[in-house]
């Protein structure tokens, strides 16, 4: 951070990210119909990326952005129709621009502009008359140079009469009229007259109001667009009148040279941090950028506060102070406020899932092109908010699932037609809050999961014995087994055999679940259920051999007190528990975790949990102590990962308790028993 240029660079790329998002959003909106404001928004985004990029000397980026901008400018001025083909090209151009930005950021080689660049140039070249101040190589077909000669040689009979009257908003957005006038002067000979007629007496003058207007005569044969472009960033913040200059310049009052035009008392000091080009589309609410570390510190502190409060409550209860006393009431109030504080602090970390969802349209476009399928992507619930960490870790699994949906799920156009479906397949990506968790679904209307094939493949790969009886649901879930892949041939899109098991691992690591809804020939639906935050967890506090552990509530199906007769020995070292007629593997949790003095299961409690991939199993614990929300504390930073333990937390008495990881316990069991047939899925 010692290099000021580096921090400016970082700011630029942060802004680029936002601008690219705004651009993509605008381009997608163009697909469903163009309106001026949308085109303007895209134009501004591209223009800003280009402009600041130039300052850093990213030539390839600027060159490409310039061609892109030229086409957007044509669209804006109506010189080009936003047809389906054009928007498709623009979307690809947007992707390429993102690549350019990424290349500039990471110092990699700039991507080839290739056909997109050529197509943009062709659009710009054929239709464009608007000049390009860069005259990039793309514009070979444009006879630009002769025009300039005409400008220089022609008498100043042609030109524009411009009246420019800024509103207060223009100054408030930190625009400087002198710069605009100077830019105009750059187009040709400019005569400027300041209209001070509205300027009040000093005592009536408001420092925040705008009083000046300028009448200008631009004696240059430039297109109207060139003049408008100068005022691009102040559209809507001024009265602008541009009329062709028909007659020679007549009685222009008080003509002064440009140098003297700068208004001495211009109320430009009332600037706001808002940049003008960001005031587009959805008038965004004011936001600030905050270092994530600061937020995390706040989250941690509030976590501490909650723990301390719990500790205090416990001590007060031990002192036999009644809850109805003033101390008790005060504590109850404190607890209530802390809850609210905690929720508010957690909300700081949340973001709309839009940031992940928005990467998907591009992915789908690329996949559709590669697989020669027609795909329509529907995004729903983009505004659903979830913790930033969750969002960051959602990208990879979602990408994978969308790939699968397009590559495996959807059929080719012919096959779809034959099946009586529209040629264009639909992939729906949706998000919603449901019961304190976020549910994200990837659905397609393709062929669904072919259970017979899945089964056959699983047998071939030795994942299940040939004669195994599996329910439909269990068959569907086989695709989550490591090393499973149904792709007929390994394509470069998906089917490397590391597909869905990785997706599931990612989701489970986030504390989520994944469920398949499959209707053969009609499509499949993958539902991800994720916690809203990774910082807290609802857990059941259990005792094993005098130690306290926390079991994540999301895994628990039910708890029961087994009778000795329900426990059956099975093979060596293994036991099964009879739960209303169904036998589930019984895990001696104490043994697995190396805790001495754990009670035998017949004297303790058994908790039925759902593990990913291995179905249900029963964990034997000594007793259930209660249920509470706990703050997750990692100890891996200071120690290392322990199989069977997800993290730690601090209980009300200030002591550390370990949070159990059900899948890790399953893995531990496997290692101990070293019998691959153990812990097979049981029916649910």
């Amino acid at each position: 951070m010692t290099d000021p240029m580096e921090s400016i660079r970082q700011t630029y790329f942060q802004e680029c990210e936002e601008l690219l998002l705004a651009m993509e959003e605008g381009l997608l909106a163009l697909e469903s119909g163009a309106d001026g404001e949308t085109i303007n928004a895209v134009f501004r985004a591209v223009h800003s990326i280009k402009g600041s990029g130039g300052a850093f000397g990213f030539e390839a980026l600027v060159h490409f952005a310039h061609g892109f901008e030229t086409v957007m400018d044509l669209l804006r001025s109506g010189g080009l129709e936003a047809s389906g083909e054009v928007t498709a090209l623009l979307l690809r151009a947007g992707d390429l621009l993102a690549d350019h930005v990424a290349a500039a950021r990471d110092g990699g080689a700039a991507p080839e502009d290739g056909e997109v660049g050529a197509a943009l140039a062709a659009l710009a070249g054929v239709d464009s008359e608007a000049g390009a101040e860069f005259a990039p190589a793309d514009f070979e077909g444009l006879d630009f140079a002769p025009m300039q000669i005409v400008v220089e040689d022609a008498p100043p009979s042609q030109g524009w009469r411009i009246r420019f009257a800024p509103h207060a908003a223009l100054y408030a957005n930190a625009n400087e009229p002198a710069l605009l006038l100077r830019a105009l002067a750059g187009l040709g000979e400019l005569a400027v007259a300041a209209d001070l007629s509205t300027l009040p007496a000093l005592e009536a003058l408001s420092p925040q109001a705008a009083y000046f207007a300028w009448d200008m005569t631009l004696a240059a044969d430039v297109p109207r667009e060139a003049v408008e472009e100068v005022f691009e960033f102040v559209t809507g913040q001024c009265d602008l009148d541009i009329v062709p200059l028909a007659a020679p310049v007549g009685d222009m009052p008080q003509v002064v040279p440009l140098e003297q035009v700068v208004p001495q008392a211009a109320p430009e000091k009332t600037e706001k941090p808002d940049r003008p080009d960001k005031k587009d589309a959805d008038a965004a609410r004011p936001t600030i950028r905050v270092d994530l570390d600061k937020v995390d510190r706040l989250v941690n502190l509030v976590g501490e506060l909650v723990i301390t409060q719990a500790m205090l409550s416990q001590r007060v209860a031990e002192c036999k102070i009644p809850r109805a006393s003033s101390v008790g009431n005060g504590l109850a109030e404190l607890e209530h406020l802390l809850r609210e504080l905690q929720d508010s602090v957690m909300a700081i970390r949340t973001q709309p899932v839009k940031s992940v969802f928005q990467r998907m349209p591009r992915l789908v476009r690329e996949l559709a092109a590669q697989t020669a399928k027609k795909v329509h992507l529907v995004l729903e619930g983009e505004a659903t908010e979830v913790d930033k960490t969750v969002i960051e870790r959602l990208g990879e699994p979602l990408t994978h699932m969308i790939r699968n949906a397009v590559d495996h799920g959807l059929e080719g156009p012919e096959e779809r037609r034959a099946a009586g479906k529209p040629e264009e397949g639909t992939v729906t990506l949706s998000a919603e809050h449901r019961g304190g968790r976020i549910v994200i679904e990837v659905a397609d209307d393709g062929r669904g999961i072919d259970r017979a094939r899945v089964r056959q493949k699983a047998v071939e790969r030795g994942l299940i014995p040939a004669g195994a009886t599996l329910s439909d649901e269990e068959t569907d879930n086989l695709i989550f087994m490591p090393g499973f892949s149904t792709a007929k041939e390994v394509s470069n899109i998906s089917g490397r055999g590391v597909g869905m098991d990785v997706v599931r691992r990612n989701i489970v690591d986030l504390g989520g679940r994944i469920v398949i809804g499959n209707s053969p020939r009609q499509g499949s639906r993958f539902s991800l259920t994720l916690p809203l935050t990774l910082a807290v967890l609802d857990g059941m506090v259990v005792a094993i051999g005098g130690q306290t552990f926390v079991l994540p509530l999301t895994h628990i199906v039910e708890s029961l007190k087994p009778r000795a007769a329900d426990i059956q020995s099975f093979g060596r070292e293994r036991s099964l528990l009879n739960v209303r007629g169904a036998y589930v593997p019984l895990v001696m949790t104490g043994e697995i975790l190396n805790v001495p003095d754990a009670r035998p299961p017949s004297e303790g409690v058994v908790i039925l949990v759902e593990s990913q991939g291995t179905g249900r199993l029963a964990l034997a614990v000594d007793a259930i102590l209660g249920q509470r929300q706990v703050v997750i504390k990692s100890f891996e930073d200071n120690y290392r990962h322990i199989g069977g333990i997800a993290a730690a937390t601090i209980l009300g008495d200030g002591r550390v308790a370990l949070i159990l990881d059900v899948d890790g316990i399953v893995a531990r069991c496997r290692d101990r028993i070293a019998d691959p047939n153990d812990l097979q899925p049981t029916g649910t």
């Binding site: 504390k633 120690y639 322990i642 601090i650 550390v656 370990l658």
Partner: protein
């Protein structure tokens, strides 16, 4: 910082010294964050015998290592008089269970001798050198080595 370079420069260094069993050890004062009394730990499953478990250090889950056991000298039988030295090294923070903290020692780098060849193997892996004073000998422990060795790859993770 590279301690070897300091040795060459003959810089004065300060060490916190503490007793564990019959020996006196020293640790660079810059690596010591705080010293606190013994509190019961929460045991960690499948931990080596020298990892006593974790404690709550103002919201941070801190693993506690029994120095005596770590050096292969047997487990410490803890009582409330025992002390946890909170050490930060290799961007990790751990607690070190010792019998008692003695004092602060200032020595020039030249006064630290290299470890004699015959020293026990377990111990010498963590020993940076030996400071010989008029009447006693202090074994200087390299905290980065001690902490680094704690967080080696875990076999269970690969499973």
């Amino acid at each position: 910082m590279d301690q070897r370079q300091d040795d060459i420069a003959g810089v004065r260094r300060q060490f916190i010294t503490f007793r564990s069993g019959a020996q006196e050890f020293g640790a660079d004062i810059m690596a010591i964050r705080e010293i606190r009394g013994w509190t019961e730990t929460t045991p960690l499953p499948h931990a080596p015998d020298y990892v006593r478990g974790v404690i709550n250090l103002r919201g941070v889950v801190l693993p506690v290592v029994d120095l005596k056991a770590r050096l292969g000298l047997g487990q410490t039988q803890t009582n409330p008089k025992h002390v946890i030295v909170v050490v930060q090294a290799e961007s990790r923070t751990i607690g070190l269970l010792v019998d008692a903290v003695s004092d602060i020692l200032t020595v020039t780098a030249g006064e630290i001798q290299p470890t004699p060849e015959l020293a026990r193997e377990t111990q010498s892996a963590f020993v940076e050198g030996i400071a010989v004073l008029s009447e006693r000998m202090v074994t200087i422990l390299g905290m980065d080595r001690l902490v680094g060795a704690l967080v080696g790859p875990d076999a269970a993770r690969a499973a």
